[in-house]
Symmetry: C2
Subunit: 425 residues, 2 copies
């Protein structure tokens, strides 16, 4: 990257007081060499690292930034509510407004509960399904990410076999595999987890197949099991409704997070009427789950989702970038695998089994002011314009030229070597 | 309570779109009849319900409000950081400042990790201890609250025996019970959980007994097990350090939440050097765990904790109230059990086995503008003055007079009848 004197100092200090220097999905340990770790500022489509270098940010905070960093309208309601109150001894009236807004927008939702982490919502879905059915087994697609709690974390250090004793895995997008898995636990099947599309790291994405979705619904109906759609990653970037509702397949529960408050900390579990009793039996709570500020931010975000053409813009912007990148790659003799929805770009290189081309290309683009990920899907946000994409494409052009020149000598990815198996799953 | 037209309407609407009308610790379903559910505003020591009635709030948002609602200095750093950035693609430099601040303040802390819920921190403590020891068993005091995740929730609906297969219970403040429990799982003991003092609901609190703490430490050492102190509820209301450090007994890990950012959503796991490797092996993360705004709020809160006499003031205020209440009760012919630290008041009535006196007394005080809890410990905050306590005592005086007059006719508590066993644990 560019001069990173402050970032280097921060990292050195971080290594002294934070295990591993950084943890979780925002650790840059697996990113291209020299990727800065810390950000001093963000605005609209841009982030600035600690040294003041500016980037067009294609990660959008790993999703939460749906409509632009520091969105003026959302910022205004946040500041207004801050003056009234945030974390209080009870929720603000906005909690009811927000639940009503979601019930009004999301096809299958008859009720809502709010929490903080995406994994709070997926865990509550699991517990609600078990409370409702009185059964134990939960079916999850192999490699699908539903959070970092002991029952679903992709890295098992410190967890026990009991944590996932009743989690059963099937192959994504494979109805026969799901049918077999459900049959194997017949009579004890509580829930099937699904995602809007396949969005595993280091792998091609998929799009939602309506036949598959209908098949999953039919299997759940046959077993009287609860269908949970995990919208945490993809919510409101494919549809203004739950993605499965939007193709006519109603889940029983859905988990939401990230985008709900455009960056404010809030997540939600939504559900159908017949699960209301079970949802009111389970005990879940958190110190900040009733805070009013994230709720007003969510209410305003939902209003913008309903009343603006943000989704058409996201789609136009993402498609424009995807098409232009494909042509740019081809003109330099590279093939790209751009899979999944255009609003959540995943860019992998053909003939790049150990990701070295992708890493090099990202590294050069990032050095030139375009923040990318070589292994995680990215997120288009509503502040992005076609002019931003043209600017991004100038930077990817430089990256393609560099990659072409150095094609024969691009080194393997140091960050992936120690735990390649772990990372690639 | 007082006229609650808006609150009543909100509750009716909530019952349509929120399971049970409300969930978790901020549900007023078990509070005195007519307790409002929603708050329109908070400032300093006060909250206003949705109908505009003002209360001196002895709950302090169930803990987070350490220094006063909307504290001007903390509010200023929040607004400043909001203009720079909050939830971004990486953490702000403040994450390092904050980890350094905690390591500098908390005796046993050599490193810090940040999260959102208190239960995130306690769960990470459990997972870290298991990763470090390679063992399974975790000892927890019966009735102690460490979160609402499947492994520790007080209400088991929807959870499985496997969720707590390796959780073992002992009697709080009973070294023999702990010794026996540890011996029973010898060779497989990963961790012992402790709290600064016993703070169960519907029960007398205790104070921290140094002999007990030293005994717990000795048992952990004998078994080479990890000692975890859960400071989520009581942090910085007894000490500027971890409570156990402050009496010379170092835990290996501690979990923090609630007060860290004076109401901003942030929690933390702190640990000793020998657990750093295990903490860096576990995979834990969340969409909003790296947000900069709660971290600047925490940094400023910690500065105020270090540099002001807030703790002496909390203690003075809490002690003043406690002493005056004891006299007031006595003058009306009642005995109060005021247990635990004065900064976290727990007020139960003598000769009140089914809590009806306490509920009635709270109900009258609340009706007159003093927000109390008849079953949960309360929280003194730094905005409270002796004048506020005098004002509170005027309201409790009215409540005592009313209780005295109606002593023979106070009805049992309707809210406790359906699930008395559940509630009282």
């Amino acid at each position: 990257m560019r001069p990173t004197k402050r970032d280097g100092n921060l990292l050195e200090r971080a290594r002294a007081v934070i295990p591993g220097g950084m943890y979780g999905h925002q650790s840059t340990a697996r990113m291209p060499e020299g990727t800065p770790q810390f950000f001093g500022r963000s605005h609209g489509t841009r982030v600035w690292d600690a040294d003041g270098n500016c980037y067009i940010d294609m990660m959008s905070a790993y999703g939460p930034n749906l409509l632009g960093y520091g969105h003026a309208g959302i910022d205004a309601v946040i500041r207004e509510q801050m003056a009234l109150g945030d974390t209080m001894t009870g929720p603000g009236p906005v909690m009811v407004d927000l639940a009503e807004a979601l019930v009004g927008m999301i096809g299958h939702a008859d009720w809502a509960m709010f929490c903080k982490n995406g994994a709070d919502a997926t865990s509550m879905a699991m517990v609600t399904a078990r409370a409702h059915t009185g059964r134990r087994k939960v079916l999850i697609a192999k490699g699908a990410y539903h959070g970092a709690a002991p029952w679903n974390t992709p890295r098992p250090a410190g967890t026990l076999p009991e944590d996932r004793a009743h989690i059963v895995y099937f192959e994504y997008n494979d109805l026969q595999s799901l049918t077999d898995a459900a049959r194997a636990v017949q009579g004890d099947l509580a829930a099937v987890f699904a995602t809007p599309f396949r969005h595993d790291t280091f792998a091609d994405q998929s799009v939602l197949d309506p036949d598959y979705a209908r098949g999953v619904r039919a299997i759940c109906d046959a077993h009287d099991a609860v269908l949970v759609v995990d919208e945490v990653r993809a919510g409101f970037r494919l549809s203004r409704d739950c993605t499965w509702d939007s193709i006519g397949v109603q889940p029983d529960l859905s988990a939401w997070g990230k985008v709900l408050g455009n960056g404010q900390p809030i997540s939600a579990l939504l559900g159908k009427e017949h699960l209301r009793a079970a949802a009111s039996e389970i005990f879940v709570t958190g110190s900040f789950w009733f805070s009013a500020v994230p709720m007003v931010a969510a209410l305003e975000t939902l209003r913008l989702v309903r009343e603006t053409d943000y989704l058409e813009k996201l789609t136009e912007t993402g498609t424009y970038l995807r098409d232009a990148l494909a042509k740019q790659a081809q003109s330099h003799g590279f093939g790209l695998r751009q899979t999944g929805p255009a609003t959540m770009p995943m860019i992998l290189f053909e003939e790049d089994p150990d990701f070295r081309f992708g890493y090099h290309w990202c590294r050069i683009a990032m050095k030139n002011g375009l923040w990318l990920s070589p292994y995680h899907n990215m997120f288009i946000n509503g502040a992005m314009t076609l002019a931003d994409m043209d600017e991004a494409l100038e930077k990817t052009e430089i990256a393609f030229l560099d990659l072409k020149k150095n094609r024969a000598n691009v080194p393997p990815v140091a960050a992936l070597m120690p735990k390649a198996q772990l990372a690639i799953k």
